[in-house]
Symmetry: C2
Subunit: 206 residues, 2 copies
């Protein structure tokens, strides 16, 4: 039993290692630019071994996308529709910033996908994301009619939050360059989160 579990967990670990490095390589070189050889090297495995676990590059890519989507759903949940505007948006922005910091590569892969017309995630955009967006738009519109925030177009507010928070992941390289080549430290991430949160909240009169 113990050995059976060992074999199984070895498989899990291989999958994990491959997916982790694949995300990195796909983020850095795009789908076409990433090579199975590069992912294999990063994973310290022979290329043929990758094809044992993932039949094709596209299959591997889809798995990577799947994982990223799961993380994205976690952030989506943190947008608590029953809380006050300040509470709900602060929490959501904080969560989005945390994800940008913890998973910059995932964010980059997602960005690449969308930039290139979302060939793979089109379905997610049309169903899950679209529905989620609609429910949040409703909530924001209720805030507006309750006089809790200014009458802004909820869509543009959401885009602003997405764009700004994801910028710290997708444009990480530019942010770091303009920071004198040094990665943002704890205090700077904290300052970024506070600035973004404050400007947006005040900007909508929350």
């Amino acid at each position: 039993m113990d050995t059976a579990r060992k074999r199984n967990s070895a498989r899990e670990e291989s999958l994990e290692v491959i997916l982790h490095h694949a995300e990195k390589i796909f983020a850095e070189f795009g789908f076409k630019g990433a090579t199975m050889q590069a992912i294999a090297d990063a994973s310290a495995l022979p290329k043929a071994n990758l094809h044992y676990y993932f039949p094709t590059k596209m299959a591997l890519y889809r798995e990577v996308i799947e994982r990223i989507f799961t993380i994205w759903l976690g952030a989506a949940d943190s947008f608590d529709t029953s809380a006050s505007p300040r509470e709900a948006l602060s929490r959501y922005i904080r969560k989005k910033m945390e994800i940008s910091r913890a998973h910059p590569c995932g964010s980059k892969v997602w960005a690449n996908e969308v930039i290139q017309g979302a060939p793979i995630i089109q379905d997610y955009l049309q169903t899950t994301l679209n529905e989620w967006t609609d429910t949040r738009i409703e909530v924001i519109n209720r805030w507006i009619s309750d006089g809790k925030i200014d009458p802004v177009d909820p869509r543009h507010l959401l885009y602003m939050i997405w764009a700004t928070t994801q910028h710290y992941a997708d444009f990480q390289h530019q942010v770091v360059t303009l920071n004198g080549g040094k990665r943002l430290d704890d205090a700077q991430w904290d300052a970024a989160t506070r600035n973004v949160t404050e400007i947006i909240l005040k900007g909508i009169g929350a």
Copy 2:
């Protein structure tokens, strides 16, 4: 003379056609994903002809980047350091939104570059962009000490403006999908610009 000019202008036009379509293809497929054949087909020219005008794919790519950078400089100039915060920022945001609408592919190519660690534009980031940013940070800090706006970190304000305005170009596909598959019309672009401008200006107490 007339014939000499004709030949010259034919050359100009070929260059223009190639660069235009190259920008599109690079935006849609990334550097590696874009093929000379695809650019040739889009330009309705044989592939060998591309190599007559641009010796290598990288040389063509650099030219595309160069053009985009020129456009970016135009927007940068519209940030008038002698105007009031409201005036300077409204104008800058409007200009950035106009560029997102007029040159979405250029923006996408730029985004791809930065996401992938800016292998080509690193130099621009460290010199021109860095210097430009520093001068604007100074101006914004003066606004703050003059009590014209709230004490926000100028960097994060700039990042927010860049991220949000460029989102409408880079994430065009997502924006369109969430708009029911229809491209934004004049009124929607106008609304987006107004919302973004108002939230940011009010957000910093301008």
